[in-house]
């Protein structure tokens, strides 16, 4: 690809999704965009770039989606979910005991494994949540991937990545070669198309936000701006989850780490989430 083509595509992706594409990741253009080109009957990346330069909106959307779609696992990294069950949830059950509502946001939820993991985890705690209203909102920039998430149908490979066998037996049904998640779990999650760079105010207020392995694709100013607008969607004592390789330190002063709890962050302020000592 010609350097000015690369720069054009990189700028377009940044502007549309926040994704920062550096030269060492140029190979991703080939592997991710060739299928998009082929689907359109275009001869190669050059023709595809021509279409993008003409601001063919559908093509721009498809290319952006193809570049930002990432692998997902059930209960990714295990520990954050244990921590949610053992630390965050008990706190919220107590702090929200009067109004009995809990709102959770899975940002950049991809093919649905994260929000469905949260839903299964909560279902397993159903006795404690009797009489509660729990919202799980799952958002992603990609329409195609949201459609897959909504369907809740996974391959044998996908259901073996992180999903304990007990939960597979309990909450999935085998349909031909695929595994279909139980309607009761599916109904717990609302899926919405959303660009994290856009206005987030329509989402309402959340007690827990999972925004894991998203910031790593952004440059520093974009990280700061996304963290800033995510902060505005959170209740004062809300909790933010980031991925293992991500942090708020040196990027945003809206959040602070929670001592002894890796990967979760509290809003700065007197009413911010804290654990009893």
């Amino acid at each position: 690809m010609r350097p000015d083509d690369f720069n054009f595509v990189a700028n377009l992706l940044k502007e549309r999704s926040g994704l920062v594409l550096t030269l060492d990741k140029a190979y991703l253009l080939e592997s991710r965009l060739m299928p998009v080109a082929r689907k359109r009957g275009l001869k190669g990346l050059e023709e595809l770039v021509m279409g993008l330069r003409q601001r063919d909106e559908t093509l721009v959307r498809e290319a952006t989606e193809a570049m930002t779609t990432n692998e997902s696992f059930f209960f990714r990294d295990v520990k954050p979910f244990d921590q949610f069950r053992d630390v965050v949830l008990p706190y919220m059950l107590q702090a929200r005991a009067a109004r009995k509502t809990l709102r959770i946001w899975s940002a950049a939820s991809s093919s649905g494994q994260e929000p469905y993991s949260i839903a299964m985890l909560l279902k397993e705690q159903a006795a404690k949540l009797a009489g509660w209203r729990v919202d799980i909102v799952a958002t992603d920039i990609s329409r195609d991937i949201l459609e897959k998430a909504r369907a809740g149908v996974y391959s044998q490979f996908e259901v073996q990545r992180g999903l304990p066998i007990m939960l597979l037996v309990k909450y999935f049904k085998k349909v031909d070669d695929m595994w279909q998640i139980d309607p009761s779990i599916r109904a717990m999650v609302q899926h919405r198309e959303l660009n994290l760079l856009s206005d987030l105010r329509g989402l309402g207020q959340f007690d827990v936000v999972f925004c894991r392995n998203v910031l790593i694709y952004f440059d520093q100013p974009t990280k700061a701006s996304v963290l800033g607008s995510v902060a505005k969607t959170m209740s004062e004592d809300g909790v933010l989850y980031l991925g293992g390789a991500e942090t708020v330190l040196g990027i945003s002063d809206r959040f602070r780490p929670i001592p002894g709890q890796r990967g979760i962050y509290a809003l700065n302020g007197p009413a911010g989430f804290s654990l009893p000592v």
């Binding site: 696992f73 066998i165 085998k174």
Partner: protein
């Protein structure tokens, strides 16, 4: 170093599993059927058992039932690893005392994820 007994009648599968498990720092032993595996367990109980279902002489399910009845046989973490991929088989394996269940084909990522889930890693 933890030990893992790999039970499968396919030499190729045993080799693949051994390679993955050794990279994860397991000391591996192999058995080609359930009976050989039981004999190995009598000699020394492993920490983990990766267990095929369909094998000559004694199948995986029968092995698991006998193992769980042996003194100390409740200790090993047993991960089934089989082409059987329907709910009925999975349920049977769990009822017989399996801790986890892998549906073949598998790769190192799946094996590793399952071992993490059952606390072996």
């Amino acid at each position: 170093m933890k030990s893992c007994l790999i039970v499968d009648d396919s030499k190729v599968i045993r080799m693949v599993a051994r390679k993955i498990l050794q990279d994860l720092d397991f000391r591996c032993e192999e058995a080609a059927d359930g009976q050989v595996a039981l004999d190995a367990c009598v000699k020394s109980m492993p920490d983990a058992i990766l267990l095929d279902w369909n094998m000559p002489v004694m199948d995986g399910l029968e092995f698991l039932r006998q193992l769980r009845g042996m003194p100390g046989g409740d200790k090993p973490v047993v991960v089934f690893c089989t082409t059987e991929n329907d709910i009925e088989h999975i349920q049977k394996a769990i009822d017989a005392g399996a801790n986890e269940y892998i549906m073949k084909p598998f790769d190192s990522e799946i094996l590793q994820a399952k071992f993490v889930q059952v606390g072996l890693l």
